[in-house]
Symmetry: C2
Subunit: 324 residues, 2 copies
Amino acid sequence: MSEQWIVGVDLGGTTTKLAFINLNGEILHKWEIPTDNSNEGQNITRNIASAIEQKLIDLKEQKSKLIGIGMGAPGPIDYETGIVLNVVNLGWKDNFPLQESLHSLTALPVAIENDANCAALGEMWNGAGKGADDLVCVTLGTGVGGGVIANGNIVRGINGAAGEIGHITSIPFGGAPCNCGKTGCIETIASATGIVRLAKAELSKADANGTLALIYAENGKVSAKDVFDSARNGDELAKKIVDEVAFHLGFVLANIANTLNPDKIVLGGGVSRAGDILLDPVKMNFSKFAFSAARDSTNLALATLGNDAGVIGAAWLIKNKLTV
Amino acid sequence: MSEQWIVGVDLGGTTTKLAFINLNGEILHKWEIPTDNSNEGQNITRNIASAIEQKLIDLKEQKSKLIGIGMGAPGPIDYETGIVLNVVNLGWKDNFPLQESLHSLTALPVAIENDANCAALGEMWNGAGKGADDLVCVTLGTGVGGGVIANGNIVRGINGAAGEIGHITSIPFGGAPCNCGKTGCIETIASATGIVRLAKAELSKADANGTLALIYAENGKVSAKDVFDSARNGDELAKKIVDEVAFHLGFVLANIANTLNPDKIVLGGGVSRAGDILLDPVKMNFSKFAFSAARDSTNLALATLGNDAGVIGAAWLIKNKLTV
């Protein structure tokens, strides 16, 4: 039998990532198309179907090579019907039948899953969590997202809200306001946005000095990357901010480990690119707050798939249907 | 076919509970035997096997009615081998082959599981969590234990430490020491022991007065039940303690809901018998700290099976093998 390919799709608000992926979870071809939110989002699935057809033509491959499309979608999903609920930024006015629409346009089996969960599945299939049956992925980006895998399957929860790790409260009193309406969520501290907020608070103090203060004085702004780069170079103010972020992240992740004792907790997203300057103090704080049996067995690791995790995890949805 | 029975066994340090349970999870006969820790625990499985034989004789029933034995054991289990690890208080010197020993003595299929997980499975099968695929059970007793069920299966974690909810840290700085070696664990606050500790701290203050203070003056001690009874009668000092317990429990349970979004979080154990005087303020604090989608869908409820949860959940282990 000739090699079979799965289409992995990672639907984002501005860009849609696509890839042809083999049954080992390896990307063979990947490309992107803009996400067309106009016409109440009606073009989205048509453009995806066309992009797949066109890529097959470019590669001189037959459609029979494709065994299905797995897709990550940004927002809550009704898994019974494959409908994406209330995703305003994709242009869909009402609940959009994503799975059915893409299936009727391509005649291929289609599986959909929340995009944060896809990233977790990708890391499980062929990334930092390879081989783990129990895995928690935390994406530290503009916000903080997460995906929980237990016994080899995504945990969605009764209302699809499992994995909302960004909204775990780390500061019960007097924390910063979060987009979710609560205060003190870990997202307000450990996201890129949160780190910049903490930095600005420190930098606005009269006695602020050092590398990071110089960057701020020069550019009128700082990024999360500036904070980590300055900390790596020994800047005291930056180190203080990294310590605060690492404390809260270690605290929250330890409490997740006390509940789930996963094989691995994988940190991904732009902030995680800071590497050991972040990971090492997070591990130290994790050790303080994790129950001994979990502390000794749950490992913290950096994600390895970067932006590819989403399409690989989406493809896993089809792979998983083959093997069960 | 005549009715089939499952034997549910809940092995405790001093008492072993046994029950014959039908395939609907209903207890038909239940009884207890003392746990004989002498002889390096070698008598434990022999006594269980004899107790089952004797009960069948008493009931004039054939052994063929029994389709298996499910057993909850206090301590970590190697699930590959059915060996209970390092349970000193049962007298077992080395790791004891519980499953194999009981199987060879009875010639029945034997399944074993950690006892806190059995209680969760019992509540899922025929208790407060009936019908829920995603469930977290928290046992508030002398300590605080827990069991996590996701997608209909127990989450054990990589080292069997999943569900160690009692050791979730709620007070990161300056909390009371916990038996586990950490400080500020929810067990130090929301267990019967923790509640008494909080009460004594309040009662030792010079201005302590009210019902609870009178009980303390009279008896030289107070129980968790005294605290809840006094709070129910409007005692201010007792209400303050209940508020503190409810705050931390609501905070911890909300963060579990943010991670797992279970259908239900079920509170069991002696402390949960306090009922609404505890549950209502826990719910209020839970609402503050839970992400909206989880807050609106994860329900807090009191356990309904009491001490029977363990044997029913143990029996479920055998029932589950029939249906998969």
